[in-house]
């Protein structure tokens, strides 16, 4: 077993032990206790591309939430993520919240999910809570290949309450901007002088319809960025630039229907001296292939489900489209991974969910991917395949929560 795998596992299990003992300890000391809640799921996956069948363990997510008194509460979420390398642990969310007003103003400080639309602020890491077996590609977290800055460390204001016949809500946050590379998010040090800003507003009508808009802006750190010790860091490879995200969502939920649609438009602009570097397959060095160019990325999904007692058939369409090879998102990462932001990709998902019990669900899902990667021509240096390709897979998933 490679040493890094042993390291990962030892770290993961140590953290799990500390977390569980801390929760149990709290239970013994406080009259009401702190319930240790969480979610987990696993799948049987068939990949047509390599004709493989695998049992796949997914995230095991633990969280504790507690209202300390009438105004202060906290939430800590720790997630264990199996991958090819073993099991890694990540402190996904941890914040303390002060309720200035029970509904209209709550101030939080810590690490939270960025207010980008509906999914990221609703389902978090709870696979059981979402109808489908998988998240839309645009909603993937940074460490799962996602493009959006789904985590922010900083301060958040949020509130909601009755307005006219519905509910109005808002979230505004200020935090560390993007790090040198998109993963990990900058939870310990801000590589920009300016902070990221995220804002979301929504309105829930009385008939189950919710609509909302969101905005996000952050600077992108450049190759000359300095680390916490003031010394230019060799790991900072992203070019200097700016990132703006504009989004909208519409959600309609009744006892029978669940319809979720989100759109995010991401713009990256770069300064004159910013360069695009790509890493060749099988190589550990990056090659500068030209000046970085502005990029526009459109991300969309629409999912429709129909509840029939314990069964919920559902389908989802996704579209990911970029007009350029993005210098920041395609920056070589420390482990040599080549991110896959290429041209236009469509995903067609169909599935069935069955409620096994009030806390457990079985889901069967099939996904067809159609990628028209015209921009791949520009990535020949990275050893990418320029041909159009399609692929499909199936996923039998068993999720549960407690």
């Amino acid at each position: 077993m490679p040493s890094f795998q042993r390291g990962h596992r030892a770290k993961a299990f140590s953290l799990l032990s500390i977390f569980i003992f801390a929760a149990l300890g709290a239970r013994a000391d406080v009259t009401e206790g702190v319930p240790l809640r969480g979610f987990a799921d696993f799948s049987v996956i068939h990949e047509a591309a390599d004709d493989s069948d695998s049992f796949q363990l997914h995230e095991v997510d633990f969280f504790v939430a507690k209202q300390i008194d009438d105004t202060v509460s906290f939430l800590i979420e720790l997630c264990f993520q199996p991958s090819f390398d073993g099991v890694g642990a990540d402190l996904e969310r941890t914040y303390v919240q002060y309720r200035v007003n029970s509904n209209w103003l709550k101030i939080s400080g810590g690490r939270f999910h960025t207010s980008l639309g509906y999914w990221n602020d609703t389902f978090h890491h709870g696979g059981y809570l979402q109808t489908a077996a998988t998240r839309p590609v645009m909603e993937r977290f940074e460490d799962a290949g996602g493009l959006l800055p789904t985590h922010t460390t900083g301060v958040e204001l949020r509130g909601n309450g009755p307005m006219s016949n519905g509910i109005f809500g808002y979230i505004v946050s200020v935090g560390n901007g993007r790090g040198p590379v998109k993963d990990p998010p900058a939870f310990y040090y801000d590589y920009n002088k300016s902070k990221s800003l995220a804002a979301l507003a929504y309105y829930e009508f009385n008939n189950g319809l919710r609509t909302g808009v969101n905005y996000y802006h952050s600077d992108l750190p450049g190759g000359g960025s300095r680390g916490p010790d003031g010394i230019p860091s060799a790991t900072i490879v992203g070019p200097a630039g700016g990132e703006s995200i504009y989004g909208a969502h519409a959600v309609y939920q009744t006892a029978a229907i669940e319809w979720l649609t989100e759109y995010q438009h991401m713009e990256h602009t770069y300064k004159n001296n910013a360069q695009l570097s790509l890493m060749s397959v099988g190589s550990s060095t990056a090659t500068v292939v030209g000046p970085a160019q502005s990029t526009h990325i459109d991300l969309l999904y629409s999912q429709l489900g129909y509840h029939l007692g314990q069964y919920t058939p559902y389908m989802r369409f996704e579209l990911n489209e970029t007009d350029n090879v993005d210098a920041y998102l395609n920056a070589p990462t420390a482990d040599g991974e080549i991110p896959g932001l290429l041209g236009t990709t469509r995903y067609y998902v169909a599935g069935m969910r069955y409620e096994l019990s009030p806390a457990s669900a079985l889901k069967f899902e099939a996904t067809y991917v159609d990628s028209r990667a015209s921009i791949l021509e520009q990535l020949k240096i990275a050893g990418a395949d320029p041909a159009r390709h399609s692929d499909w897979s199936t996923n039998l998933n068993w999720s549960y929560g407690w």
């Binding site: 319930p35 809640r37 969280f63 939430a65 507690k66 209202q67 009438d70 509460s73 939430l75 914040y95 919240q97 029970s102 509904n103 939080s108 602020d121 609703t122 389902f123 978090h124 709870g126 059981y128 809570l129 909601n160 309450g161 009755p162 016949n165 509910i167 189950g208 939920q253 009744t254 006892a255 509840h307 314990q310 409620e355 009030p358 806390a359 929560g401």
Partner: protein
Amino acid sequence: MKRFRFIVFCLIFGLASASSFAADFVVVANPKVAEDSVSKSELKHIYMINQTNWKNGEKITIVVLSPEGAGADDLTREYMSMSAIQAKKYWLIKVFNGVLPSLPIVVDTADEAIEKVLATKGAIAIVPKATKVGKAKVLSETP
């Protein structure tokens, strides 16, 4: 004509069923809750966690029948427009989002619901009208 009669019958029957729902259930609260009545819209806001405090600032604690319990599905469909299982997921999402500090108190029977309402400050529950409410405060439901 037969089709027309059938539609009218369905409409009348549907309306009758809807109006009879409120007559079959009663809203109860802890005796120290200041409110004497609650509107259907307020009940919806309470169960959807959009209203988490009574008017005097006291925290609201919801007591609900377990999803498998008799009448649980009817209650959540009436006040939340979702099934009992969907409602449980909805509350779990609210806890997961940090909006709700803890899940509603789940009980198996209406009698247990009354016990919890009496024992919990700011508690509210909706129980079948036949339930012996004892010292629990009955809130009249206004339109």
